[in-house]
Symmetry: C2
Subunit: 282 residues, 2 copies
């Protein structure tokens, strides 16, 4: 496995493979790789010829009061995982090479960035859209894999790729969960033992929403209230949002029909957890 | 010469040539091609293997009260010029295929878009940055040519390409002028005979600024006043802006040193004219 840090070296690598006509795949990450990432990388490995995993804790998607400085960076462990999974290139650009002095361009996907995570984290998705555009320009992958756990991010990247004609096939893979149902996340390490035990209520709340739909509830507000009741039954949890949405526009639905997504974000102490569930109303 | 209207067909064309390892060149235009465009196309023709001229009157860079509807669209004449100059592909995407329903992504280069043209035309440069990103994603040129006449646009595209790692070499060619000095522009056709005669004062004003610098004036404000006096000596002209700027940041200069750019925009009746001059202060 090649470890590439320089943007120029990555471009040279890409140009060589591009001329060979091979399929380039890409899994963009912020490192701190867990089994969710491993699943993405395995799926990618068998669906492309040359596979790049990018690792960058992207500063522009963090707010000023967020966890940029303390975000986990276990680079040796991350490289070992990539090596085990047969990754061709671990692309590790520095923040300074990605955002040199004078940098000012912003890519935004305004309607999809407005609600939910975007409401709580105002500049987050412009940071995501900009870095994804840059990574795709550098790597020029044919396909890229994203986890369903960050549902709004995946929806936004799909829109972005279409709108800017980036020519990347975006594949979204189902969320990988711990045995008790908690969605895997690099931020789960921040949870205290007690909060870790409580953390399962987010998935439980979403499942309660899905169960209500299966039992025939079609009223968006009723489903939202059902999910909220599950979360608030635990005194240490607070709700950032719980919503019943259209899976493409992410606009909240008054009435459920067809394929929908349940989106949730809660807080346990200082830790924010997000999760989602796709439900097909029959 | 191939005329390509569909985005998919353009991508197929590009993929084929890309695999051959040839150099792809691109001259993005809004059509209504004049000798300024011809000069760009000729320069491009000898510096790339496969040359695409794109023709799109891009709606997103026009303001609501601007001349989108009446902008000249002499497509047969434009194609003939491209054919004469040995262009390989005339890429004529429709506005609808570029901006289908649901389109929402915006690329912006905020600091460079704030002043001068951006001040008078608030959404213009976001429209330019977005369409250029899209065209470069579709065509994936190695090099692209822009005219110096739209100096702020060229500066912004250079910044954009660097910031988003688009990997396109941007070449800016000197403004082509009519015999009397008026910068060639597709919008010159809007000028009445009388205003056409007066229109030379913009270039004359810029030249007066350059002369002042050559004669030793270093004070930005004094140079600006010199240029303004020339324009306002003609009663039918009004000044939008006349400025002495850094040629990269486009910020106005209090004191002139080294390479600078004189930027100007005036109005004659309902027609706006822009022009600029690069000056090396010794």
């Amino acid at each position: 496995m090649k470890i590439i840090r320089s943007l120029q070296a990555l471009t040279t690598w890409r140009n060589r493979w591009q001329r060979e006509g091979v399929t380039i795949g890409c899994v963009p990450t912020m490192g701190a790789l867990h089994d969710g990432h491993r699943t993405l990388i395995r799926a990618a490995r068998v669906q492309c010829d040359a596979l790049v995993v990018s690792i960058l804790v992207n500063p522009t998607q963090f707010g000023p009061t967020e966890d940029l400085a303390k975000y986990p960076r276990p680079i040796a462990k991350d490289r070992a995982l990539c090596r085990e999974e047969g990754v061709d290139v671990c692309f590790e650009p520095t923040a300074t090479s990605m955002y040199p002095g004078g940098f000012q361009t912003v890519v935004s996907v305004p309607a999809l960035a407005r609600r939910w995570e975007g409401h709580v984290r105002p500049h987050h998705f412009a940071g995501v859209a900009t870095v994804v555009t840059k990574l795709f320009s550098l790597i020029r992958p044919h396909r890229a894999w994203f986890g369903q756990k960050d549902f709004q991010q995946a929806a936004l990247v799909q829109r972005l790729v279409k709108d800017l004609n980036l020519g990347v096939d975006i594949i979204v893979r189902t969320t990988v969960r711990e045995a008790d149902g908690l969605a895997m996340s690099s931020r789960n390490v921040y949870l205290s033992a007690e909060d870790r035990a409580t953390a399962t209520i987010l998935y439980a709340g979403l499942q309660a929403g899905a169960a209500a739909i299966r039992q025939g509830t079609r009223d968006g507000k009723a489903i939202q209230e059902r999910m909220t009741a599950v979360i608030l039954s635990h005194p240490s949890a607070s709700v950032d949002y719980l919503a019943v949405c259209d899976p493409v526009s992410l606009e909240p639905l008054v009435r459920v029909a067809g394929r929908i997504v349940l989106l949730g974000a809660i807080r346990l102490g200082r830790v924010r957890l997000i999760d989602n569930l796709i439900v097909q109303a029959r």
